[in-house]
């Protein structure tokens, strides 16, 4: 069996797996194109009989999606930056040592994210309103998301730092770098796989964050896309096709962007470093 054939075969299998896994995505796409009731039809239709292409422009305009997406982007970038700034160092230290304090730190970090956002929002809202943070609602949401997602980030990035040989950092120290310099020049680039992927995951989460945003951001102009999506949900009505169209518009580009980004997960970043 030649390599070429094996590659072909693997690719075919991968396509099938992806097709299965991506089915919900496909369903989102075609539901957006179906009329409101066609999606309830038995048997299900895998291609809409009358695709409603106009729905995209309708959804985009009626909800002023540009603004929503912009806000989502601001919030997600803010949250990822904050988390990265605070979390990377923390994860690094937790990976570097092996003692009781690290255990305690890890334990605390895990425990601090145990409550679902829905149970956290009340106390956070109360606290934020008292210190006046609600006057800058997007910033408040960024803070809240950062707190919520940082433990996730720290725990994962810590696991990547575990793979970076200590000797490389030592070599940098002997070469005349400070701890900070060695961290940025050596350790960080070598842990980039994990950091990148964790950051992507955090970004996506923050981009779609809903519970904090809807409570803390009262002005529509500042609300993110996730809140905008819910405007299709009424007391007795759910405009599913619009919801799906809306989701399509915001999922597709992000997905595409991150498919590209995560390709940088290359294996063996540290290979060749040590004897």
């Amino acid at each position: 069996m030649s390599d070429h054939f094996r590659n072909r075969l693997m690719f075919a299998v991968a396509l099938v797996l992806a097709a299965i896994y991506l089915f919900p995505l496909y369903w989102m796409y075609i539901t957006a194109l179906k009329t409101g009731s066609a999606m309830f039809a038995t048997p299900p239709k895998f291609w809409p009989s009358e695709p409603q292409w106009s729905i995209y422009s309708y959804v985009w305009e009626s909800r002023n999606m540009g603004r929503y997406l912009w806000n989502s982007l601001v919030i997600a970038i803010g949250a990822v930056s904050l988390i990265a700034v605070l979390g990377v160092g923390c994860a690094y230290v937790l990976a570097r040592y092996r003692n009781i304090w690290v255990d305690i730190g890890l334990f605390l970090i895990l425990m601090l994210q145990v409550l679902p956002a829905s149970l956290m929002i009340t106390p956070i809202f109360v606290g934020f309103s008292q210190v006046g943070l609600l006057d800058t609602p997007r910033f408040a949401v960024i803070l809240a998301i950062a707190a919520k997602s940082m433990p996730f980030f720290v725990v994962l990035v810590r696991a990547t730092f575990m793979n970076v040989p200590m000797e490389l950092e030592e070599a940098a120290l002997v070469d005349g770098n400070s701890r900070i310099g060695a961290f940025f020049n050596i350790v960080l680039p070598l842990a980039r796989n994990g950091i990148l992927v964790s950051a992507i995951l955090i970004f996506m989460q923050a981009f779609g964050e809903f519970v904090y945003s809807k409570s803390m951001i009262q002005a529509v102009e500042l609300q993110p896309a996730s809140v905008g999506l819910n405007t299709f949900m009424g007391p007795n009505t759910n405009e599913w096709n619009n919801i799906m169209a809306y989701a399509t518009i915001y999922v597709t580009p992000i997905l595409a962007a991150f498919v590209l980004l995560q390709r940088r997960i290359v294996s063996g970043l540290t290979s060749g470093a040590l004897k």
């Binding site: 690719f11 991968a14 797996l17 896994y21 991506l22 089915f23 919900p24 369903w27 989102m28 038995t42 048997p43 299900p44 605070l86 160092g89 923390c90 092996r98 255990d103 730190g105 605390l108 970090i109 895990l110 425990m111 601090l112 145990v114 409550l115 679902p116 829905s118 149970l119 956290m120 009340t122 106390p123 956070i124 109360v126 919520k148 433990p151 996730f152 994962l156 696991a159 990547t160 793979n163 400070s178 701890r179 992507i200 995951l201 779609g208 809903f210 996730s226 999506l229 949900m233 759910n238 989701a247 999922v251 997905l255 991150f258 995560q262 390709r263 997960i265 294996s267 970043l269 540290t270």
Partner: protein, 300 residues
């Protein structure tokens, strides 16, 4: 002063600073709300007294009340089942996919990226889609199973008490698989190739290499993923809201959905908080297991 400064750039001070800062941030942002919830579970909470800590103290009354309710036990059982089945499913499928895409065939990295989709789709949309997929009459799952001859009659995934919890588990596994897969991929990429070469020369076949090299070398990643997966699963309630609403008759109800339902549907915040404390205890246990497991990690 100079000493302190030096320690910040080169010594322990650097490390302590890096940890203390985020921990302090976390403590304020997450720790206090946690405490707030715990305190609330011992109080009588009036929906209009949410803004203050000073509420009538009722001791363990909330706990006693909670455990005297008939649905409590099945819900706790459901939670355990939901969590373990979801994590097992996500992890196994995720690991399988990660291993599959680890074989570096052309296109692997692109396709792997597409699996991130479950992470980026909004919860509302995911819930709705699975709602349709799992629907008894027009559900695609039933349609496919029927067409392929696996089943004769429709399974009412959402509404049959025997299946309802599994309906949510299936959806949740789908949701969590990408998270597992992508992070396990990262973990796999961190294992030095020469270990596999050595093992292969030592006569280990693929399965043996997996058990003796891959798994132990990924210990820290796996530990982290399972610990986080547990926490995520314990927070998952979008899917319950969308697919079964905990029904029928609580057969698919779990603590997190119940806590949410109590707090935000029945406005019984104290009970909601009480349940959350039970969850905290559960996670505490899991965290201890995780932290202990880090003892055996291999440092590169």
């Amino acid at each position: 002063m100079k000493r302190i400064l030096a320690s910040v750039t080169d010594g322990k001070g650097f490390d302590i600073g890096l940890v203390v800062l985020p921990l302090a941030f976390l403590f304020v942002m997450s720790g206090l709300p946690l405490v707030y919830n715990v305190v609330m579970s011992f109080q009588e909470v009036d929906m209009f007294s949410l803004g203050s800590f000073l509420r009538p103290f009722v001791g363990f009354k909330n706990y006693v009340d909670l455990f005297s309710q008939p649905e409590t036990r099945p819900i706790l059982f459901n939670t355990a089942l939901f969590v373990s089945a979801s994590i097992a499913g996500q992890f196994l499928i995720g690991f399988g996919l990660a291993l599959f895409f680890w074989v570096n065939f052309p296109g692997a990295s692109w396709l792997r990226g597409l699996f991130l989709v479950s992470w980026v789709m909004p919860g509302l949309v995911v819930g709705a889609i699975w709602n349709w997929i799992l629907s008894g009459d027009f559900g695609v799952l039933n349609f496919l199973l029927r067409e392929t001859g696996v089943i004769d009659g429709n399974i009412f995934w959402r509404s049959d008490p025997n299946y309802s919890l599994w309906a949510v588990i299936i959806a949740n596994i789908w949701l969590g698989t990408s998270f597992n897969m992508i992070l396990l991929s990262v973990g796999l990429s961190g294992i030095p190739k020469d270990l596999y070469e050595a093992a292969e020369l030592d006569g280990a076949n693929a399965l043996q290499r997996f058990w003796t090299i891959t798994l132990p070398m990924m210990r820290s990643t796996i530990g982290a993923i399972i610990a986080l997966g547990l926490i995520f699963t314990l927070q998952q309630f979008d899917l319950f809201a969308a697919i079964t609403s905990g029904g029928p008759n609580n057969t698919s109800n779990v603590t997190q959905y119940w806590a949410w339902d109590l707090s935000f549907r029945q406005y019984d915040f104290a009970k909601g908080a009480t349940i959350s404390v039970i969850m905290i205890v559960f996670v505490m246990f899991a965290s201890v297991v995780y932290v202990r497991s880090t003892r055996h990690e291999v440092r590169g």
